[in-house]
């Protein structure tokens, strides 16, 4: 079974937001709601500054609090590692929204069910990349199968020091970040 993951090379991101828009179009996300976001963080005092660009999305954790807390089993972890949702089972109790340390979830304002990034599993099934990865101008977002040593994610993780967000939360995310700061060390 494939073990899907994403690696984000922060240095190659230019905060163009193409991923945000492409995701919304691909997944019919209602206006005002988002499945992914981009954070621009600058530290220091002029002119000694440092920038970090970071795109965040659902981490499809291996230890997902949203899945454990779902009372109806609507949230589940698929065999391929993706954390997905059965919309028809969702009651809208919002436990998953509260349980996620990454603010990855939202309640679809038009439908009432909880929703989030699905790694575009409908595209992955057809052999395509998730919409955000496909459109990423910087080739900052990289997606693939960790079980395949030649996949872009495996290569990226081998060649770089990777970090995850909120490691101490114990969620074991599947989204890895490399080259954190915009300027090389």
């Amino acid at each position: 079974m494939p073990k899907y993951a994403m690696v984000i090379n922060q240095r190659r991101c230019v905060a163009c937001m193409a991923c945000v828009v492409a995701c919304k179009k691909e997944n019919e996300v209602p206006p005002g709601q988002f499945r992914t976001r981009v954070i621009e963080n600058t530290e220091g005092t002029f002119p000694l500054l440092r920038m970090e660009l970071r795109s965040e999305l659902c981490n499809h954790c291996d230890n997902p609090p949203c899945v454990y807390n779902c009372p109806t089993g609507a949230s589940y972890k698929a065999d391929n590692g993706m954390v997905l949702l059965k919309h028809n089972r969702c009651v809208g109790c919002k436990s998953c929204v509260a349980a996620c340390p990454y603010d990855a979830r939202y309640i679809n304002e038009e439908k009432g069910y909880a929703d989030k990034c699905t790694f575009c599993d409908h595209r992955v099934k057809e052999g395509k990349e998730p919409a955000c990865v496909a459109t990423c101008l910087g080739k900052s977002r990289v997606f693939g199968d960790l079980e395949d040593p030649k996949s872009p994610v495996s290569v990226a993780l081998r060649e770089n020091h990777a970090e995850v967000l909120l490691k101490s939360a114990g969620t074991k995310p599947r989204v890895y970040y490399v080259k954190k700061f915009s300027k090389p060390e």
């Binding site: 988002f34 976001r37 600058t42 969702c90 929204v97 990454y102």
Partner: protein, 322 residues
Amino acid sequence: MEITVTGANAITSPHLHVWDWRVSLYLFLGGLSAGLAIMTSILHVRKGGNLAKGDRAAVSAALWTPVILSVGMLFIFLDLERKLNVFWFYLTVQPLSPMSWGSWGLLVFYPVCILFALAAFPAEKRKKLAFRQLIELSEMLSRYKLHLAAANFGMGIFIGIYTGVLLSSFVARPLWNSAILPVLFLTSAMSAGAAFMIMIASQKKVKLFFTKVDIWLVLAEMVLLPLFFYGQYTSSGANRESIMPFFTFNHEYFWYGLAMLLLLVVLPIALVMKFLEVNEDHGEELSHEALMKMNLSALLVLAGGLIIRFSFVYAGQLSHLS
């Protein structure tokens, strides 16, 4: 640090807001009914049933339980975004989801407390049940009164504690993520149950008994609350941050500061009042003044429980790990 976020969702930005007064009210009413169930069981078991003899609460307490619970459940139902899907709670058991345990537990709680209510019906009042089947059922069940009291007591503990377990299981919400929270919620629930019992009981001995019970429970709360805050304060950075709304006392955190001040006032006053009530020589009957004081101290306890639920639900959603 200059941070610009593009693509934040309103529901989680600037902080989480998914649960509001409806959830807070359910936590309080659910806790109250759970505490009441516990106290009702105690009422009917203590002194072999003699405590309950002749008291109005012998009947009403057991009936109040499902009523209060239903009101609470109405509110929690209103909080669901997809109400028509509510039956899904009962098509599956999710062993790792406290909410799943709770939904099933509530399902069991209802028949238990209703059956107990029937079993605990004093023989002389049975005629009031009107329907012959009910009277017969009440008679039949009265043989199992003790068993049902135990079940009612157990369910009360479960309902009183599970909401605390639910909130405390969220690593993402550091304010709630404490092992003390479920104990605090249970204690608060029992205290509210005792306070309510004081108000609905008709006899002096019942009222005074539950006043003594409540004294211990309020004392326990007054130990648990500081322990809770101390535990958060000495835990990791996010935990320490999470309790700050209660201790900041500025415009932004006005309501949390107020909640803290009220708790610091309400619980000790209630405790002192109850202590005085218990030590006062009331004579044969409780004077009108004494009744007023008992009701007032009970209301203070209920208010305290309400304040805890509301402030924790809202403040917990301010807290975050990152």
